[in-house]
């Protein structure tokens, strides 16, 4: 289960991810994020403080979002990851592809 709540601060959209980004929930996140991008929101900040878990399917969705945002010359930042989630990004090698910061305030 995952809940996504979004707020807009200036030209940045902050999406708070609450729950697990796995095979069940990643499709919904992908659709939502693509909708933001198509509506002109190309500066995205994902608040991962309450993101409990990310699977390989979830990693793919983050990659898709980053690719789409890159095509629009925008940016994606990931914030406040738990050690377990950060470990998954590090093991996969994908932490180098994202800007990962300790807190949302660091991303703004």
């Amino acid at each position: 289960m995952m809940n996504v709540t979004s707020t807009v601060l200036g030209d940045t959209l902050i999406a708070k991810l609450d729950g697990r980004v796995d095979a069940n929930s990643c499709k919904g996140l992908e659709e939502q994020a693509m909708g933001w991008i198509e509506n002109g929101r190309t500066r995205l900040v994902f608040d991962c403080e309450t993101m409990e878990y990310v699977s390989s399917a979830g990693l793919r969705v983050f990659l898709l979002i980053a690719k789409r945002v890159g095509e629009k010359r925008g940016s994606v930042k990931l914030c406040a990851m738990s050690p377990g989630v950060r470990e998954i990004f590090d093991i996969s090698g994908f932490s180098q592809l994202f800007t990962i910061v300790p807190a949302v305030s660091d991303a703004l």
Binding site: R20, D22, A23, Y53, S55, S56, A57, L59, R60, L63, L64, K67, G84, I88, I91, S92, G93, F94, L97
Partner: protein, 575 residues
């Protein structure tokens, strides 16, 4: 092993000679508080001065031999850690029993039985590592810390002490403790290394200035001979088989105390400490036992590993073995210089009390961290909780134990550490009855959730006292496996039944293993991850990434198929 950040001179480091000397001097100043145990025993036994002097000399020599044996760590003797030995009053009642039955010769002769029993108990700790677990070690260390703090407070305020309280005792203790804290917290390296010694010096000076040093103290110092050959043995030996059980029980009490002190020494010397090294504990208890057997020959009071001295080494940042040889040498030489012993006895009681309070803080927290490092289920919570309760309430309930318990059990109740650890150990052993180190659970692949899996693995982790980090890795990796098996249709149906995954977990203190068995296709495990471009271009790359994550999250991954449609995935996590 990894050197903790707080340690300046580690186990194998060789500090400069002057540093090693002053560290040893600092230790001997702290251990001075336990020297008062010898005059207490002499007073209780109505010994004349000559016998008492022989006793002191013999005890000093054995303490010196003991700390050297403990640090030596070769030939199966000694833990290899800097772990000084201290005299303990926990043996008084049984030695008095023997003394009444057959004189001091019998009391000291039976100390040999105590030492031999310790050697055997050390071996027991090694073979029953499942019972003498991290939590039990934590109970021992915590109770050592609380006991030290309790004694420290009593000495600091002059409550229930051998000499009458002076008005300025509290002030002297506060100044001493404050000095130690200032040098330990706000200074680095050498000043921190000697923070306890500096506090002792300042406290001594303040006490002297306030008139704490009496004419009697100075006279005793002046009267003490400069040199004197120790008379060994002090009185002689006798042996009585009927007293064996009493001294064996005391041997158990001292061994449990030593177990706690040695576990604390290991904990203070390894930033990655996970569990007691029972082989090192066994060798350490063996060294204690050997020291006490030598003590029986020389007629010295029994000694045990000092949790306070271990805490002092850690608090000041020098846990090197080298000061152990300096300390041992000083103690042995001190046996030949009665004037040094007299000087040692002049250290004011509130000053030593302040030192004990200072050290107890580090020791208590080390024990609590040991306990908290493991997942605990109700069995372990009860074993630890009841052990701590019995240990902490020991002081106020001791008269009850003396009046109501059988005589042969009395020695276990002579110290809070022995009582608390015995309770925790017995409960730990009893609760292992019926507890299996293997568990099986069946999940419906269609409806299983991460929460269901975490519930099972958490429960097993608590039951087995696994480290939380290991269980978390197991949960993460196993759910990754579940996702791929389910989402990529690798789990088939078994003859009309639902798609099932059988999860079997096993634990043996060093490894946590998850075996997922199912009807279907083996999960591919890869050693190289797909690239980001491959992940974006091809959704099938997700399964390769999952296999790679499993390969990295688990310490060992195996997959197998039996050719009959049954597949297994085995994930092993080393603790």
């Amino acid at each position: 092993m990894r050197k903790p950040d707080s340690i300046v001179y580690w186990l194998d480091d060789r500090p400069p000679a002057h540093v090693a000397f002053f560290v040893a001097l600092q230790q001997i100043s702290f251990l001075g508080v336990y020297l008062v145990v010898s005059p207490l025993f002499a007073h209780a036994q109505h010994l004349d001065t000559s016998i008492y002097s022989r006793l002191m000399a013999a005890t000093l020599i054995v303490s010196g031999i003991g700390v050297i044996l403990q640090a030596f760590g070769r030939g199966g003797i000694g833990s290899g850690y800097f772990c000084p030995l201290q005299v303990t009053s926990a043996t008084f009642s049984v030695m008095t029993l023997a003394s009444v039955a057959g004189g001091l010769e019998l009391a000291f002769g039976m100390v040999g039985v105590l030492g031999f029993a310790q050697v055997l108990f050390g071996e027991l700790f090694r073979r029953a590592r499942g019972v003498f677990s991290v939590e039990v070690a934590g109970v021992a260390v915590t109770l050592i810390g609380f006991g030290l703090g309790h004694v420290g407070l009593q000495l600091a305020i002059g409550f229930d002490t051998p000499r009458a309280m002076a008005q300025h005792d509290g002030l002297v203790a506060a100044v001493t403790l404050g000095t130690m804290i200032v040098f330990n917290v706000w200074f680095a390296r050498h000043l921190r290394l000697f923070s306890a010694f500096l506090g002792l010096l300042v406290g001594f000076a303040v006490d002297w200035w306030l008139g704490g040093l009496t004419a009697e103290d100075i006279a005793q110092f002046r009267q003490a001979a400069l040199f004197g050959r120790p008379h060994l043995p002090a009185v002689g030996w006798r042996f009585e088989p009927a007293l064996i059980p009493y001294f064996v029980v005391v041997g158990l009490a001292l061994s449990l105390h030593g177990f706690g002190a040695l576990a604390a020494a290991q904990r203070f010397n390894d930033a990655d400490w996970k569990r007691p090294d029972v082989n090192s504990v066994c060798r350490g208890i063996r060294a204690e036992g050997l020291a006490n057997m030598i003590g029986a020959l020389f007629n010295a009071l029994p000694v045990t590993s000092s949790g306070g001295a271990v805490g002092l080494a850690a608090a000041t940042g020098c846990t090197s073995r080298l000061p152990a040889y300096w300390l041992g040498g000083m103690m042995i030489v001190g046996a030949f210089i009665p004037k040094l012993t007299a000087l040692w006895l002049m250290i004011p009681v509130p000053v030593i009390g302040a030192a004990a309070i200072f050290l107890s803080a580090f020791t208590v927290l080390a024990g609590m961290q040991m306990i908290a490092s493991r997942m605990l289920d109700n069995r372990k919570i009860l074993a630890v909780g009841l052990g701590l309760i019995c240990g902490l309430s020991h002081g106020s309930l001791r008269p009850f134990y003396e009046s109501n318990l059988p005589t042969f059990l009395q020695p276990i109740t002579l110290s809070s550490v022995a009582l608390g650890v015995v309770v925790a150990t017995v409960l730990s052993a009893v609760f292992r009855l019926g507890a299996r180190t293997r568990a099986r659970e069946v999940f419906d692949a269609t409806t299983a959730t991460l929460d269901d899996l975490c519930l099972v693995l958490d429960r097993q982790g608590r039951r087995w006292g696994a480290r939380p980090e290991v269980v978390r890795r197991a949960e993460y990796a196993t759910w990754q496996a579940f996702e791929i098996l389910i989402d990529h249709q690798l789990v088939g149906r078994e003859e009309g039944e639902c798609r099932r995954i059988e999860v079997e977990t096993t634990f043996d203190e060093f490894t946590f293993t998850v075996l997922a068995g199912y009807h279907g296709i083996a999960l591919p495990i890869v050693q190289h991850p797909p690239t980001a471009d491959e992940m974006i271009a091809n959704e099938a790359a997700v399964i390769r990434m999952a296999g790679y994550l499993l390969h990295r999250l688990a310490d060992r991954v195996e997959t197998r198929c039996d050719g009959g449609g049954r597949a297994e995935l085995v994930l092993t996590f080393f603790d």
